[in-house]
Symmetry: C2
């Protein structure tokens, strides 16, 4: 019956986990938390604000890379950590994409990835480009995987033996090779 | 009042263009085409099948790269062409992502990108990895851009000066650098 911000975000995660993003309405969420919609709007003026807070909350779970990693290993750790955090909450990749679109969410992960690339000697433009390639690989592929999982759960399609982890690892390695070739040009490798 | 497959797909594009993916229901589509839902189901047994056909239809508009392009220029042309085809139809990136998730759609673009990478001497695994990185960059970033466009249209958020084209070009260049560094290892550059 509590209705603080953390409880609302926990209930939102729960709706995604037990149902789907399509089921995450302000009305439904209020019912789950056990309050009237008004109480929800006090914390989150609209759904976009709620989704942005939920995205930040989910991305907070990204494990901090070990401090002794080299910059390119750090890129890999951040990308893998982001994917792991998203895979823990169904439909979360779409929530994060939406929150980046609205710009109501912080872009802490993208900043962290860009900072790691900058440690390799890439200039700001190059470091941002690496962050975009990595973040959109994580988001794009995870949206596809989570959509597939929902379809399988609803028995719209048959399970497949598609290995998303392998697709992710392979594509990430290409992007990091691209970052390394930039670092080489910058004299850092 | 016609109800052949092409008319239905044209009406579906029209719903996306004038409204959004959320408005694209089988019922709504039947009304737009001027037929009873049954007539629709005769062509498309369910919504996933419809979305997959729509995705294929949209991706058919990708311009064929000039035949004299080098393999890496071909990668760039395919990626840019895919993005241009998606930007022509609102919410289409999500439609394509969903159709790849269901595996009801062909993956002709991904195959074309992988074939271009193979011309650079990359082995099948590497060529597939380049295709995944490129396709998910296009899909992920375009989902974000099209979501943002819908939010601006509905006045949920203010217009921004974010330059998605520049973000795309920068990230694509990193991935292609990664592909080139693989080609170099393979002795093709």
């Amino acid at each position: 019956m509590s209705n603080n911000r953390a409880d609302i975000l926990a209930a939102a995660r729960d709706v995604l986990t037990r149902h789907s993003l399509a089921d995450l309405t302000m009305r439904r969420l209020a019912t789950e938390v056990g309050v009237r919609p008004n109480a929800l709007y006090w914390h989150f003026p609209n759904k976009q604000t709620l989704l942005a807070a939920l995205a930040d909350d989910i991305l907070t779970d990204i494990a901090e890379p070990a401090p002794d990693l080299r910059w390119d290993e750090r890129l890999e750790a951040l990308a893998t950590g982001m994917r792991t955090a998203l895979l823990a909450v169904p439909d979360s990749a779409e929530v994060v994409s939406s929150s980046w679109a609205s710009a109501l969410s912080g872009r802490a992960v993208a900043d962290d990835v860009a900072s790691a690339a900058a440690l390799g000697g890439l200039d700001e433009h190059g470091a941002r480009a690496v962050a975009t390639a990595i973040c959109q690989l994580v988001i794009g592929l995870t949206i596809e995987e989570q959509t597939r999982a929902q379809m399988e759960r609803l028995r719209v399609i048959e399970p497949s033996d598609r290995d998303f982890d392998e697709e992710f690892t392979g594509a990430l390695a290409v992007i990091i090779d691209g970052a390394r070739s930039r670092a080489r040009v910058a004299g850092h490798l």
